[in-house]
């Protein structure tokens, strides 16, 4: 093989390499035209199309990413705002509840105190009234009872009104004194 290369080289040096052969020119021209058409009509349009597509894809992706970023930021802002709203809302509700609770407790306390006072007052009034009525009935009853008893003891009518009255009064005074002593003890 190498020999053939050598001989080919020798052959080409025996010709003048600067004088082109006609067939050489013709076929070189044909090859050039074929290649030119191939690149011009086939390869380069496809490459151009590809480059356009690629540029478009990149731009599209960038636009898409921008869009997504913008949306995310908007959403974040919205959430933050909502969160702040919710916080203030919750604070407000808690405050109201606390105030309401205080008010309710205070009201309940007032009502209870008033009720207690009322109950106490009415009980005292009732007790007083009962005591008075008992005192009155007791006094009259005790008077007649004492007179009867005294009449029985003495065995005679107490005709002397003055005497009788004095006796009854003295008795009643004693009774009251003893009752007062008993009340003080109680």
């Amino acid at each position: 093989m190498l020999h053939s290369v050598v001989s080919a080289a020798e052959e080409s040096t025996t010709r003048n390499p600067l004088i082109p052969e006609v067939y050489d020119l013709v076929w070189s021209g044909v090859i050039f035209v074929i290649l030119l058409l191939f690149f011009w009509k086939y390869v380069l349009p496809r490459v151009q199309k590809l480059l356009d597509e690629r540029a478009e894809a990149i731009e599209g992706n960038i636009a898409k990413a921008d869009e997504a970023q913008r949306k995310a930021e908007a959403a974040l802002e919205e959430y933050t705002a909502q969160l702040a709203d919710a916080r203030t809302e919750a604070g407000r509700i808690r405050e109201t509840a606390r105030e309401d609770g205080k008010k309710i407790v205070a009201e309940a306390k007032d009502t209870a105190v008033a009720e207690a006072a009322r109950v106490t007052a009415s009980a005292q009034a009732q007790i007083e009234a009962e005591r008075q009525s008992a005192l009155v009935s007791l006094r009259s009853e005790v008077g007649t009872l004492a007179i009867d008893l005294a009449s029985g003891v003495i065995g005679e009518s107490l005709s002397d009104d003055a005497k009788a009255t004095a006796v009854v009064d003295r008795f009643l005074a004693d009774l009251e004194a003893s009752e007062a002593a008993a009340g003080g003890k109680k």
Binding site: M1, L2, V5, V6, A8, A9, S12, T13, P17, L18, I19, P20, E21, Y23, D24, L25, W27, S28, G29, I31, F32, I34, L35, L36, F38, F39, W40, Y42, V43, L44, R46, V47, K49, L50, E53, R54, A57
Partner: protein, 226 residues
Amino acid sequence: MMVRIIAIIALLVIFWLGTRRMRVVPGRFQSLVEMGLDLVRVNISDDLLGKKDGKRFLPILTTMFFMILFMNLTGIFPGLNIAGTSVIGVPFVLAAISYVTFIYAGVKKSPANFFKNALFPAGVPWPVYFIVTPIEFISTFIIRPVTLTLRLLMNMLVGHMLLVLCFSATWFFLFSAPGWFKLMGVGTFAFGFAFTVFEILVAVLQAYVFTVLTAVYIQLAVAEEH
């Protein structure tokens, strides 16, 4: 000729596979193909010509770059071993296309401006035009295509000869040389190896240079002023 057809078939297959199912998110192979195409589109046509003109001339620049690149690379492929561009046909045809393209670009933009800028550079006192104009004419309309052709042709031709020299010397030293001369073969092989790697660089570089120069010529032709 066979070598060129193989290179072109490889080129067509690679780019056909690479662009058959284009995805927005590229796979490994597609990334590689895109990288190659980006080199021409971004580094050559957009940088030198701007977006608008760059797009107009992109097909021709892309074709030039990959045609030269693949034909250059055949020079270091085992079994092919000769660069498609090391015979004058391809460089000549490509240089002619570059020539026609930049003149077309200039004339299309504004014929008067193009020839005025090319032949009568602004800011020069008028008597100097007697000297400048012929020089500009020769450099723009004669030297440019010739240098494009020769630069590519000679780079690839010389690279090929260097490789042939190194490897045939290796062969000779290893199998035909007497005694200690066989050791020389190791040295020449190392050189051959180094030049093979170097040829890869040259292949890419020459494809790049050819395309960049074409772009520059177009750019000069469509520019308002120099």
